[in-house]
Amino acid sequence: MTVALAATTIAFAPVPAATVTPVERHIRIEAKSFEYSPAVVTVNSGDRVTLELAATDVVHGLYLDGYDLNVTADPGQPARLTFIADRPGAFRFRCSVTCGPLHPFMIGKLNVGSNWLMLRAVGLAALGIVFVTQRCRGAGAQRNL
């Protein structure tokens, strides 16, 4: 019972509002087969973000998971994508233009504020361990699920 309550709290507790004042951010990401640089980008929740995608060899794209935004850039012609990073978490971005064999694995990551999903996951994992060890001690040799 307590465990269920704790689990529900960890899983569904509302996220506290971001405390940092949002700023305007301009980030240039270079794309070449098959990586982005920088491959990991970090902004604060609420920031107004402009990603400038610059392809340095062939045409590449950038599709941002979670926000479901897409931009493509020809070599030598950087393209921009502006959005408000109003959803906190870690979001993969992946190349959206077939650019060669490793194209499906051309992946980067945008961190927006705190990754609450990850924190919840860690909390639930720890809780799960406590639950399993406690329950089995209590249940003795009884068969468990």
Partner: protein, 463 residues
């Protein structure tokens, strides 16, 4: 433990006994399989536009890892096209046992005793794993691998008896068998006493109604799913109607101490380690790692391959062994301090093997979480590849121009979290129960091991 025999339902038994449904499904799968090979050979070299790559590594893989294995165990093996041509040749028949006495083409040799384990499968999987980034992305290489497996299966069927390929060599069969222990379905006998009295054991030898178990399993002795291919030949050959297909608890086999072996324990490490390595290599943000894995033969690849092998064969098992040893110390200290005697202290090796089975649910969860990432991100390639399988500009179903769109991008990380945390709890409970078979407390270090693995996977996939 509750079990429900599905053959009690109307239609189930006759449908399984009849050879046509299985034959038709297998034949369709074989058609798709051969077409995938052809597409891989002659179609476009662009992987994401080639039916060979897309149907196998997105379509089939998704069905296998997200549905077939978790819910039906070796269900896939019962309709797998790979061994089919070889088996047909070996039997000299496509359907039931032929009544004629014509000679079968095969040699029908016994599989060597020394190789009656899954080490070859472990090795075969490791080899493919080292080449996986190339196999996964290059249509011609996928085609060569599929064709080689098909040829190998035929050759093995002609040299050895029954399904030696499936049982001892197939790199896919190895892990399906491992994870089939988790499935909520099993083939068992209804009443062991009936088997004991049945001296002919037609389920093993075969009769006019069907073949002797192709997997060289005696159904009456089945304690776990690993080597039962669910081909249901025994259901056809058993004159006493003694074969049941049971619905059961998930993971029921794990609580059975019988049949735990070192080769299978290592399969668990290989699979868990590969899922971790793939999550970093394929889905991580490290470009250098991806190119190292791709440029097979280069110095970077050699380093990658060595690191991969050391990780799955040495580091993971080594850390786990340490956890097992620490756990034993803990329980021994505990026993010394208390008056209650612990039961027979198992050897370290035995404890290591037994507790490794806790990694079976952990590993399957890792593979499901890993697969969710790339399956949903790339599922949209499927409609295009079906419509234009060769990448030649066809448009069979009008979906050739469907743009690539990742599906459920907000939802997938949540699903992955649920799967990974669920796998951890399942693994923890399994470790506890296995530890309780002899003495208590021993499982804690192993559970911590599982927790660390889960945190690493969470970091790689949703962090």
């Amino acid at each position: 433990m509750t079990r429900y025999d599905l053959t009690r339902l109307p239609l189930v038994e006759p449908l399984l006994r009849n050879r046509w449904p299985q034959f038709v499904t297998t034949s369709i799968a074989l058609g798709g399989f051969v077409f995938a090979i052809i597409a891989g050979m002659v179609g476009t070299p662009v992987g994401s536009r080639n039916f060979g790559i897309v149907s196998v590594w997105i379509g089939w893989w998704a069905l296998l890892m997200l549905i077939a294995v978790p819910f039906f165990g070796r269900g896939w093996c019962s309709i797998c096209p790979l061994p089919a041509p070889g088996e047909w040749l070996q039997r000299g028949a496509v359907l039931g046992p032929s009544t004629g006495t014509g000679r079968r083409p095969g040699l029908g040799l016994r599989w060597p005793n020394r190789l009656r384990n899954i080490w070859l499968q472990n090795g075969a999987f490791a080899v493919i794993a080292l080449l996986s980034v190339v196999v996964l992305t290059t249509p011609s290489v996928t085609a060569v691998v599929l064709a080689a497996l098909l040829v190998l299966a035929v050759v093995m069927s002609l040299i050895f008896e029954r399904r030696a390929f499936c049982r001892y060599l197939c790199p896919v069969g190895g892990f399906i068998g491992l994870y089939s222990q988790l499935a909520p379905i099993e083939l068992r006998v209804k009443d062991p006493a009936v088997c004991a009295c049945h001296t002919q054991k037609t389920c093993y030898t075969g009769n006019a109604d069907g073949y002797g178990c192709p997997w060289q399993v005696f159904p009456g002795g089945l304690v776990k799913n690993t080597f039962c291919g669910l081909c249901v030949e025994c259901l056809r050959t058993c004159p006493h109607d003694n074969i049941a297909i049971n619905l059961r608890d998930f993971g029921a086999d794990l609580s059975n101490p019988a049949g735990r072996r070192l080769d299978e324990a290592f399969k668990a490490f290989i699979m868990l380690g590969s899922a971790m390595a793939y999550s970093a290599v394929m889905l991580g943000p490290w470009g250098a790692l991806k190119s190292a894995a791709y440029t097979v033969g280069s110095a970077a690849w050699v380093i990658y391959a060595a690191a991969f092998l050391v990780f799955i064969f040495v580091v993971l098992p080594g850390l786990f062994f340490t956890a097992v040893v620490v756990g034993r110390r803990l329980s021994q200290n505990l026993a010394e301090n208390s008056t209650t005697k612990t039961r027979r202290p198992e050897g370290k090796r035995q404890a290591f093997i037994a507790l490794s089975y806790a990694l079976v649910p952990l590993g399957l969860a890792a593979w499901i979480a890993f697969s969710l990432s790339f399956v949903f991100a790339n599922l949209s390639y499927l409609s295009a590849a079906l419509s234009d399988p060769m990448g030649w500009g066809w448009n069979l179903f009008g979906t050739a121009r469907v743009n690539w769109t990742p599906y459920l991008t907000q939802f997938v990380p949540i699903l992955q979290t649920i799967v990974l945390v669920g796998g951890l709890i399942w693994a923890g409970a399994t470790a506890q129960r296995i530890a309780e078979e002899t003495s208590k407390m021993r499982s804690l270090p192993v559970i911590v091991f599982c927790l660390i693995v889960t945190l690493v996977l969470l970091g790689l996939l949703v962090g």
